[in-house]
Amino acid sequence: MIDAIKNRAISIRRVFAGRKVAALGAIWLCIVLVAAVFAPWVAPFDPLEIDPVARLTEPGAPYLFGTDHFGRDTFSRALHGARMAILIGVGSVLIALILGGLVGMLSAYFTKLGHVLMRAVDVLMAFPALLLALVLMTLLERSVANTIIVIGLVYAATTSRILFGMTLKLKNDVFIDAARCSGAGHFSLLFRHILPNLLSPLLVQATFIFAFAQLQAAALDFLGLGLPPEVPSWGNMLSEERIYITRAPWLLLFPGLLIIFSVFSVNLVGDAMRDSLDPRFKDDIAGV
């Protein structure tokens, strides 16, 4: 059993072999992660400190990325924005995978329950992702937690579909039958035998949700329905300063490039991992 898991699991070396760009992406993500963790200590300024005298200063010392129309330091805000990016990514991935994963697996395993649950998922899936997020965010208040919950929920529906399909494929596999015959209960079958085999595809799915969540959150910020405006996130920085595209181009360039690099990196890593997946599951994973 353990060997089987090992064989199906993703080895870092295999994923990045011959994929230098994906490896670069992974390195970039590590940098973002470090920035996110140490932002309060690394950032040269308070990201919320207003200074009317220094407003719209060009990049240079001491403002590495220049300042915005409040006179706040864009570099410090970008560092704190990395925090938000990681928080939103990890948060919505956890919600999507745990909620969607449970619904999908249980639905596939218990057929009758599945009928009910998957119909509910069908209803949610009938709403295009951005539209659903838009309506839910209007209904709830703008906050970090709500943004994460809404994006997580939207992708939970997709994830449950995928997990449903994959669990169905495994359910009647020989090794599951063997475990069932040797007296394993439902819980043990689901979480000790089926789930470990799905961990790798789940990980790949997680990377894609992470990437989508960034773009989705930025789009919500742009429409004025995402994180509260006072939170320094890359999306808010773009949205709040978008009229300065010619007056102070750095305000759109830096946060925009940060989003693009980060999403691109996550997608590259995800793409590389998908290619080393069990062929049975490869096409189940959505993503770019």
Partner: protein, 315 residues
């Protein structure tokens, strides 16, 4: 086979009804008072209460729902609170823009996505393959509004090649030439969505290439290019056609951001503006129609699959 068709069609109706309830509930839980928005700054509380009564917004929510859904069945989506005209005609005004934008975006996706997908499948594993999928992923990683802002800046303001924003109807002066207003928006929208199609064309071509009839063709000594086009691509087309269906429906709603950036009078921007105005009937109507479109395309794709591949309907 027939029972499969009937089963799928019957499953469609409860999903739609459940979705309509969900829409109604969501919309009415949104804070904000449409009567207060309509009357503006100097309205007195009595004015607001009177208008609320007049609009029927003081009734219990289930009764409002029944009233609304009763109308929907008869093709009446109600009156826009803001425009005071039938919701259906407000949506119809936006539909022209949205459909043309989606069609034009699909055109770009086909023009760029399909050849690139074929290219990377036929050069599977080489640097060409890596480069093209790298590009595809890159374009899928750009926030659409950011791309849109820069396209306007360079191509409309800087070079003056295309109009920056707005879209006069094609029935207006200028006729079909007004489509040039949709060039930049459709490119903006195509960039992230082309990646999906490139990947799909590539992987379905690779799958089909492994199948028996292709191996036979190879054995017969057909040239690789001929095999790629004649056998592989044609078969892969079925999978891709299905994906186009979903993409098309998704484009209509994803266009929310693009339509906002380019100030296009489509249904996407209509939703955003209607949310700000708390124009419940319009929000409900637009979402219901998009959901209906989504589900219908879903259904058609499923049925087409069942018809093309009888194994599906036996599952």
């Amino acid at each position: 086979m027939l029972s499969y068709f009937i089963k799928r069609v019957l499953a469609f109706i409860p999903t739609l009804i459940a979705a309509s309830m969900l829409i109604f509930l969501f919309i009415h839980l949104i804070p904000g008072d449409p009567a207060a928005v309509l009357l503006g700054d100097t309205a007195t509380p009595e004015d607001i209460a009177a208008l609320t009564r007049e609009l029927g917004l003081d009734e219990p929510i289930w009764r409002q729902y029944i009233h609304w859904f009763g109308g929907v069945i008869q093709g009446d989506l109600g009156q826009s609170l803001f425009f005071k005209t039938p919701v259906l005609s407000v949506i119809a005004d936006g539909a022209e823009t949205s459909l043309l934008l989606a069609l034009m975006t699909m055109t770009w996706i086909v023009i760029f996505g399909v050849p690139i997908g074929i290219l990377s499948a036929t050069h599977h594993g080489t640097w060409i393959d890596q480069l093209t999928s790298g590009f595809a992923i890159f374009f899928a990683s750009i926030p659409t509004f950011w791309l849109g802002l820069y396209l306007i800046l360079f191509f409309a303001v800087g070079l003056g090649w295309f109009p920056s924003s707005g879209f006069p109807s094609i029935s207006d002066d200028g006729g079909w030439r007004n489509l040039r207003y949709l060039l930049l928006p459709s490119l903006t929208l195509a960039a992230p969505n082309a990646a999906l199609i490139i990947r799909l064309v590539r992987s379905s071509m690779l799958d089909v290439a492994k199948e028996d009839h292709v191996r036979t063709a190879k054995a017969k000594g057909l040239s690789p290019a001929k095999i790629a086009i004649k056998h592989v691509f044609r078969n892969a087309l079925i999978a891709v056609a299905a994906a186009f269906g979903f993409t098309f429906a998704a484009l209509i709603s994803e266009a929310v951001v693009t339509e906002t950036v380019f100030s296009l009078p489509g249904v996407g921007r209509l939703v955003v503006q209607s949310i700000l105005r708390r124009d419940y009937p319009v929000i409900q109507g637009v979402i219901l129609i998009i959901v209906l479109l989504y589900l219908s395309i879903n259904l058609i794709v499923d049925l087409a699959y069942g018809w093309l591949d009888p194994r599906v309907s036996l599952q």
